[in-house]
């Protein structure tokens, strides 16, 4: 007999314990739970430990920058997503946490799922989300003295690293991303509006 729960049942259990959690659905993607950052550790422990839920596996933890993303409503937050799977019950769940861009702080879940240690270091490295309570929050991909968080939409490319110029002699790209020291861009004509995509 399958003990897997549908999303609605999982959301019901979580919301009964944490009313601040919102269930979101969309036509073209999996439903997800929007969790306030402050409630994340408690929600994570509930999801892992409740007998009917038992999300014992954090399959992935990733993030992205919502700036320049055709979201409704427009947002400049950094989104962090948790993809959970239950090996015991064979059901899965997506959590999302929104972190404000200027003070992106999310509680670490590395004490709940140990694998989150490296995932959170990656999100910190590339998106600049500070995971509070993380045991070893430092860069994992870029060199330790790298400046900036490259997957942020407003990331400014370095002109040089470690004394090595980034571009080759005579190499330039008119439509390349902005780099440190570039002259300010000329105002461009307004791009045609894209149809908004329903999103977090």
């Amino acid at each position: 007999m399958s003990t897997a729960l549908a999303f609605a049942a999982i959301a019901e259990q979580v919301k009964s314990a944490h009313p601040s959690v919102e269930a979101r659905e969309s036509d073209n993607r999996q439903p997800w739970l929007l969790v306030p950052a402050a409630d994340l550790p408690a929600v994570a422990r509930l999801l892992r430990d409740a007998p009917a839920l038992r999300f014992d596996s954090l399959a992935d933890l990733t993030g992205w920058d919502l700036a320049k993303f055709p979201a409704t409503p427009p947002s400049t937050d950094i989104a962090v997503a948790y993809y959970l799977h239950s090996l015991a019950h064979r059901h899965h769940l997506t959590l999302k946490v929104m972190a404000p861009r200027d003070a992106a702080q999310v509680p670490s879940v590395s004490g709940v799922w140990a694998v989150a240690n490296y995932f959170e270091r990656e999100v910190y490295d590339l998106l600049g989300v500070a995971f509070t309570g993380h045991p070893n929050l430092k860069r994992i991909m870029c060199p330790d003295d790298w400046i900036g968080h490259p997957l942020r939409k407003d990331y400014v490319y370095p002109q040089a690293y470690n004394g090595i110029a980034h571009l080759r002699d005579g190499q330039h790209f008119e439509d390349a991303p902005p780099r440190v020291g570039d002259p300010p861009p000329a105002p461009a004509a307004a791009a045609p509006a894209k149809p908004p995509v329903k999103s977090a």
């Binding site: 060199p143 040089a160 110029a165």
Partner: protein, 225 residues
């Protein structure tokens, strides 16, 4: 009984003596024993492995893979080099003994390849960090192209003069190397004046300015991609 009247190969003293210079003899030995460093960072490494495999078999050229740079004569930079990896590449190169040779294999090592435009982390050409003797275009190059590059390198090794440094062809190694002090005897051939504008001193204690991408390196198959 051997009839002394019958000429046999090797009996003639003239056939048993080879007259050459020490330099040419050393170059001949080096050319035919280019031990290469087992080092690959991306898909070019697959082609490098093929080249060392039984079908192409570079062992027949005297190229034996070595697992440590201290025993290697040749570094084949096979694959994408990121800024983070570049200092490791340089460490490996510094551990190789002179004379050392570098083959840049594939578009990534030549110029950054497909990552040269939008990537923030990829080094646009390994010659920004270490001097390169031969560039091999391709993404990745086939083993035939790698062997072609090795044959071009062997010509350079043959011209290399261990003792008579002044006899060296100035184009044997591209000009960027002398700023590293790679090949003694060539200091002064190029200097700080040829450093690229804005080039910074190495942060690893190397006081000499870098002169990237200067000189005229060898080109095979039509030049760097």
């Amino acid at each position: 009984m051997v009839d002394p009247g019958i000429a046999r190969p090797g009996n003639d003293p003239d056939e048993q003596v080879l007259v050459t210079t020490v330099d040419e003899f050393l170059a001949w030995g080096k050319e035919n024993s280019l031990f290469y460093l087992l080092f690959a960072t991306a898909c070019c490494g697959i082609e490098l492995m093929q080249t060392g495999g039984p079908r192409y078999d570079v062992d027949r050229l005297g190229m034996i893979p070595r697992a440590t740079p201290r025993q290697a004569d040749l570094m084949i930079v096979a694959g994408t080099i990121t800024h983070k990896m570049a200092s490791r590449v340089r460490t490996l190169w510094e551990q190789m003994t002179e004379p050392r040779w570098v083959v840049s294999m594939g578009s990534c090592a030549n110029s950054g390849g497909p990552f040269s435009k939008w990537s923030y982390s990829v080094l646009n050409g390994v010659d920004k960090y270490i001097p390169v003797d031969v560039y091999i275009p391709g993404c990745p190059p086939r083993p035939e192209a790698l062997i072609d590059g090795v044959m071009a390198l062997r010509e350079r090794v043959r011209k290399y003069r261990t003792l008579g440094m002044r006899d060296r062809d100035p184009h044997v190694v591209q000009g960027g190397d002398c700023a590293f002090g790679s090949h003694p005897g060539r200091d002064g051939a190029c200097g700080p004046s040829s450093a690229a504008p804005g080039a910074l001193a190495m942060s690893r204690g190397d006081e000499s300015p870098r002169t990237p991408q200067s000189g005229k390196p060898a080109q095979v198959n039509g030049g760097p991609a």
